[in-house]
Symmetry: C2
Subunit: 418 residues, 2 copies
């Protein structure tokens, strides 16, 4: 079989299995996830043996230390995967929920009911814990899942997949509901991306290169975010102590993630006090600040910011800082350079808070809170399968509900159309 | 300027205009639509003059009579377009609606608020009324719209577009919020389909060829349905008088549309009575019935159905008829040959009605009602922009709400992440 034929066979089996998964009761799905959690913990030693195969290969190829760290399945991480599955088991099941039911003049009753999407493909990079995390969310929402992790984690992903499949089989459920692609051939990805009849949604998780590759080659809908260039705007009327706390948290609490602040916009009325204040605080926290001309008039030794800095997702202890004349300039800046991820206003002015929430159409807009809350868990979705910065289907952090769609149900007593 | 550059300029202007449209009050949008309706009626004579240019060209190229009919802007149709705009003006505005607002343990309040998608591209075929209908829905939902109709309706579409644009200008709104592509070059479509930064959604409306072309060439999300192979399943326990009425309505009330029945499945327990009954009724209504072997044992002179008949969307007075052994066989048939559009069960059995609603995951599932109700207006969405038979974003008939998405809004008092 060619790679393309293998992928088709696998996807056809997933489609078949998805029909069964869609009809499972919540308690069956919860039981499955809890059993999976136990299995990961019980087979911890074997998982680490398999993980060692990947780590040995990584050693031979001279993988960077940070990458090796992400690849390593420590005992703690295996327990965390298991706990993650238990947490998803404890979440409410979105499937079957009727989100509305109304009566038409002719007496037919019309409702909308949540159903699983069907088959979801996850294309991801090195971290093997994604295998269990994504599988848990897809199965709980009644879908079948095809997992294609990075080739550097092949043995680890296969091992996790094998354990989870055994749990499916033990409960009399189709193993094809969860399949790990076991070839490291990149053609497997391109082949999967053409199977629009079998796969309903592709979620790529990883660097911008991977995501662009998937988006460009896919015939299947893709939910994605390329980057997070998140802004904090400190208004002309603001509690500057609060502003400092929010900015520091947004920048340094975990700088390497997509909801960290990358650009700080300061209204000129706050600039004389706040720019020196925040630059000092950021420097103390080890952050390099790059400023516009007006900011550099206030703090002489700032690194000058260039046009590229406004587009940059540093994912590092670097901050771009711009002084703006008014609200409109802040909004225009966010529209021109932003990535539709998360934007924050710090203000004490009611009017302006409303205007920001109304006029900024990024996926998450906040008043007086750290951008670091832009996360499925923090926002209360229970768990996160990904973040979307395109507006179709989902916009922002995605939870279980985003892995479902709604069908119309109609209850009649013989009505026909006149 | 090349065609590609023209399309980019147009789309950049649309994106710019969409920012303004997103912030309009409901009353401004309603006023706009009502003004547009009046303008169409006031300029009826001019519209018909422009329409005559298309009709003359159609005459020269020997267009089929049915096509010429669809192209013609009668006085009645112009009034219908205007009324359509007034009806959309009267619908509730989905934009700004908060669909949930909850409190997190740390005191931040999290909500989801409806916002417009941004810029919507409509690619459609001959009927010029789509220009006004689609524009009304897109503008009411706060979006900008790019309309690309068939080249055979170019003069008519341009005329309608011009009137509607004047209404925008008169109210001080950006004309670029509504643009009609004025070239008949097909490269304009392929160029539009690559502008993923400027256009948020493409909705193709027309034949399967157009829709496949758009789906294959688009880098922008597409909402589409290829065809409607709708099934009615008459259960073993059913009111056969009701079943006959529903089947007749579903097949002959308007056979040329996507929610008409194409295949009738009859449980064997009902077959001996119902097959002869429905074949007689269908024949009296001018319908050719093509049957499976079991059906032909009951009505000897039935045309034999072939494998292709089960896949067929006849859009005509032809019906495929199959006798099934049980519920599972009906479900498997629908899964194998269906198009996820609309399926109906006729039954008196409570259990089976529930099973059908649960196990059939087409976009509309009905009990004891005609498939002809599968339509945005009939289901109570107020108006219909299209139908989706893919599950992402929308599934089934789409109304105003489907032209919006939701962003997260977060209200804090200085919270940071620990």
């Amino acid at each position: 079989m060619t790679i393309a034929e293998q992928m088709r066979t696998l996807a056809v089996a997933a489609r078949q299995a998805s029909r069964r998964m869609a009809t499972l009761s919540t308690s069956t799905k919860n039981q499955l996830l809890v059993t999976m959690a136990t299995s990961l913990e019980t087979h911890q030693q074997w998982l680490q043996q398999e993980n060692n195969k990947d780590l040995e290969r990584a050693g031979q190829t001279g993988m960077a230390a940070a990458m090796v760290d992400r690849l390593t399945l420590t005992s703690e991480r295996i327990v965390a995967m298991a706990d993650g599955l238990r947490e998803v088991a404890a979440l409410p099941d979105p499937v079957g929920e009727i989100t509305g039911m109304w009566l038409r003049p002719n007496g037919i009753q019309v409702g909308r009911q949540r159903i699983p999407l069907g088959v979801i493909g996850i294309i991801y990079e090195s971290r093997p814990n994604v295998t269990a995390d994504a599988a848990g969310l897809c199965l709980k929402s009644g879908n079948a899942v095809i997992l294609r992790g990075g080739s550097e984690a092949l043995a680890s992903n296969q091992a996790i997949g094998k354990l989870l499949q055994q749990c499916l089989a033990e409960q009399g459920l189709p193993e094809a509901a969860l399949q790990v692609v076991t070839t490291s051939d990149r053609n497997a990805v391109t082949a999967l991306l053409t199977l629009e009849e079998q796969i309903d949604l592709i979620i790529p998780r990883g660097g911008e290169g991977l995501i662009r590759f998937v988006a460009e080659h896919s015939r299947i809908p893709v939910i994605k975010h390329y980057k997070g260039v998140c802004h904090v705007y400190v208004d002309g009327e603001a509690d500057l102590t609060m502003a400092e706390e929010i900015c520091l948290n947004a920048k340094v609490q975990r700088p390497g993630v997509c909801n960290a602040m990358e650009t700080l916009l300061v209204h000129r009325d706050s600039a004389a006090v706040f720019v020196p204040q925040i630059v000092a605080a950021m420097r103390q926290a080890g952050v390099e600040v790059r400023g516009c001309d007006k900011a550099r008039q206030l703090v002489a030794d700032l690194v000058p910011a260039t046009e590229e800095d406004w587009y940059a997702e540093y994912l590092d202890l670097i901050l771009a800082l711009r002084v703006v004349d008014d609200f409109d300039q802040a909004r225009d800046h966010i529209e021109a350079y932003g990535s539709l991820h998360t934007e924050v206003i710090v203000t004490t002015n009611y009017q302006r808070s409303r205007q920001f929430l109304r006029e900024i159409n990024s996926s998450v807009v906040m008043v007086n809170a750290s951008s670091r809350f832009s996360d499925g868990n923090q926002l209360g979705l229970g768990a996160e399968i990904g973040i979307s910065t395109t507006k179709l289907h989902s916009f922002g952090p995605m939870g279980l509900e985003d892995l479902t769609t709604r069908k119309f149900v109609v209850l009649g007593q013989g009505q026909v159309r006149p």
